[in-house]
Symmetry: C2
Subunit: 335 residues, 2 copies
DNA sequence: CTCTTTGAGGTTACCGGTAACGTAGCCATC
DNA sequence: GATGGCTACGTTACCGGTAACCTCAAAGAG
């Protein structure tokens, strides 16, 4: 009956005959209390079922937020989903919560999201995009909080960068293909008009071909979203224009599987008639009739390390500005 | 130089010679101001680039939160990812933000997440799970905010329910299979020890078989996470036990594709030697050599309607307690 | 002409933590 | 024995909105 209103720091303090500042210190693990006091406070916390009010804590001039904003291109990708789960889990263990958004590869949407996020006074921000608008950069400066750019490595990070080089991924895979004797290689991608990570892999691919003086016979970069359909029809369109390819490099595994479906349909055998390679290391790629040649991304590791780096920075501990997460080329048997 | 500190409601009010309460009213679209005042306020807001402080707004005895917590089983699923994107987008347009978590089908994890969420004093909660712990229900009661249960329809929703019947999905697909003359049908699922939505589809399947007195020859419910691997090996294991099946119903499309890979490997033709059906309507399923028979889920629509229903309830508008989102059986050609 | 209603505001109190600063007692040091 | 440093707290001020309540003038009712 008298428990109408939830107990606050003040109630805990009164019950114990101390000030609420002391209780606050214990809860935040700050210094300035004895072991005996700590025990008493923790017991009372447990007894009353006290629930901290993050709003009040983050509010005010000396607010201490435990909120971290995260913006990824989309939530429907298992790769980003895995990164998000890993970020969520690791940050939760360290006492932080996330507010998640997606920008669909459109920098302006990222800015809109960031503006809304800013009104929640977060402690830090995680961005998974290569390009930011001027407005985005201004808001980030005004916020004055740590920023982690994940996924692709940038040469000059705003603050922290955790990821890998998509360019190198493309280059490495192309070298793998040319080393296997493939010379006339096509490329099927998507979202060619936007500056995505896939675009960088394509550039690495072009560089790889230049190295051995092979000729990129043809490329087919759709304006669609990447996916099975895009891979299927992209392959169809490309082969209609040029049918003497000996290999195709796809934007990602989904597109590669879509492409494979088309190749199978028209009776081309992989890798006998034509080689294919994808990117991303999706599970399905490993149980195709032949294991797909692809690049595996340690998404869980990436999320965990990004979370830890960000929290280290928040705590003022030393952190490397740039952390490289090594990816792994899965040889497979489709080249 | 004098813009050291961001402008607040008070600054806007002072510049205009009104009280901050008037500005607050305009911003929230409450009543109690003239059209002329509204114009002035909006202009000043735009001029100064005022950013509202959601923390302050939600704080205090009469706090008005725009935060909505959302908890789904996992973030790596394109289906839930699509629901989340739709929820995020629709809620953002209506002026709300989300805090997203995942519970991995473990009710206790949902409770832990909810407790943390509660410390942010959200305006509402969205849950995508069938089972809740007693602790979860107690926290929800204490919070006293609208709750939307999405994905599976429950008979007695806590507050609002938006979704469809997984049981009916399973029943409908089974009828489709038996109507096509299939009699000896196996089932390959995953996570059999947890009360998941897939479990309900399985129950619908069993009911469907009972209707025509067909015999469920064998089932193979793995304890693994569903996925391509699980489908592949589940099919292998099941066929090792019983090789005179004429159809297999899979937990979802991913598992069906995995199963198809195994069937192809051992030389069984689909649908000539054996029929298969999946669930979920994933994109890849439609461009297999044969279009997979499956159930398509309107995830975007579900997210949008759930968001709108929840906001209606928050505003006190009338809403149906239960909203059914119709799913669609995609005939395909694998049965 | 008086009374009541309504629109358009203003005033007040308040939330629940936190940094900054103050202080009292104890011990070590010069 | 004066000084200084440390530990373990207590005190104070403060944030930026919001509901509830109050005020005042003009319009309408009788």
């Amino acid at each position: 009956m008298e428990k109408r209103t939830k107990p606050g720091l003040e109630d805990i303090a009164r019950n114990l005959g101390v000030s609420k500042m002391t209780v606050s210190r214990v809860l935040r693990g700050a210094s300035g209390f004895s072991e005996a006091t700590r025990e008493k406070v923790l017991q009372e916390i447990a007894r009353t079922g006290y629930l901290p009010n993050r709003l009040a804590a983050a509010f005010g001039p000396s607010g201490t937020s435990t909120l971290i904003g995260v913006c990824v291109p989309r939530l429907t990708s298992p790769l980003f989903g895995s990164v998000l789960e890993s970020l969520n889990l690791t940050l939760a263990r360290l006492g932080y919560q996330t507010m998640i958004g997606s920008h669909n590869q459109i920098p302006d949407e990222e800015e809109v999201w960031l503006r809304t996020l800013a009104s929640w006074k977060p402690a830090a921000v995680v961005l998974a995009s290569r390009v930011h608008t001027k407005g985005t950069l201004k808001i980030l400066r005004d916020m004055g909080v740590p920023v982690a750019e994940i996924w692709d490595l940038t040469t000059k990070p705003i603050d922290l960068a955790i990821g890998f080089s998509h360019f190198d991924n493309g280059l490495e895979m192309t070298r793998c293909m040319t080393a296997a004797g493939r010379k006339k290689i096509g490329y099927v991608g998507a979202l060619g008009n936007r500056n995505t990570s896939g675009q960088l892999r394509y550039q690495g691919f072009v560089r790889g071909l230049a190295e051995i003086d092979a000729t990129l016979v043809v490329e087919e970069i759709l304006k669609d979203q990447p996916g099975f359909y895009a891979g299927y029809y992209g392959t169809e369109t490309m082969l209609a224009r040029s049918n003497d390819l000996d290999a195709i490099y796809f934007h990602d595994d989904e597109m590669a599987i879509g492409g494979l479906a088309y190749l199978t349909k028209i009776g081309m055998r992989v890798p006998d008639d034509i080689g294919i390679a994808g990117w991303g290391g999706m599970e399905a790629a490993s149980i195709l009739p032949r294991r797909l040649t692809t690049t595996a991304i340690p998404t869980t590791r990436l999320g965990k390390i990004a979370a830890e780096a960000l929290v280290s920075r928040l705590r003022g501990d030393p952190v490397d500005d740039v952390t490289i997460i090594p990816t792994r080329l899965v040889p497979g048997s489709t080249i």
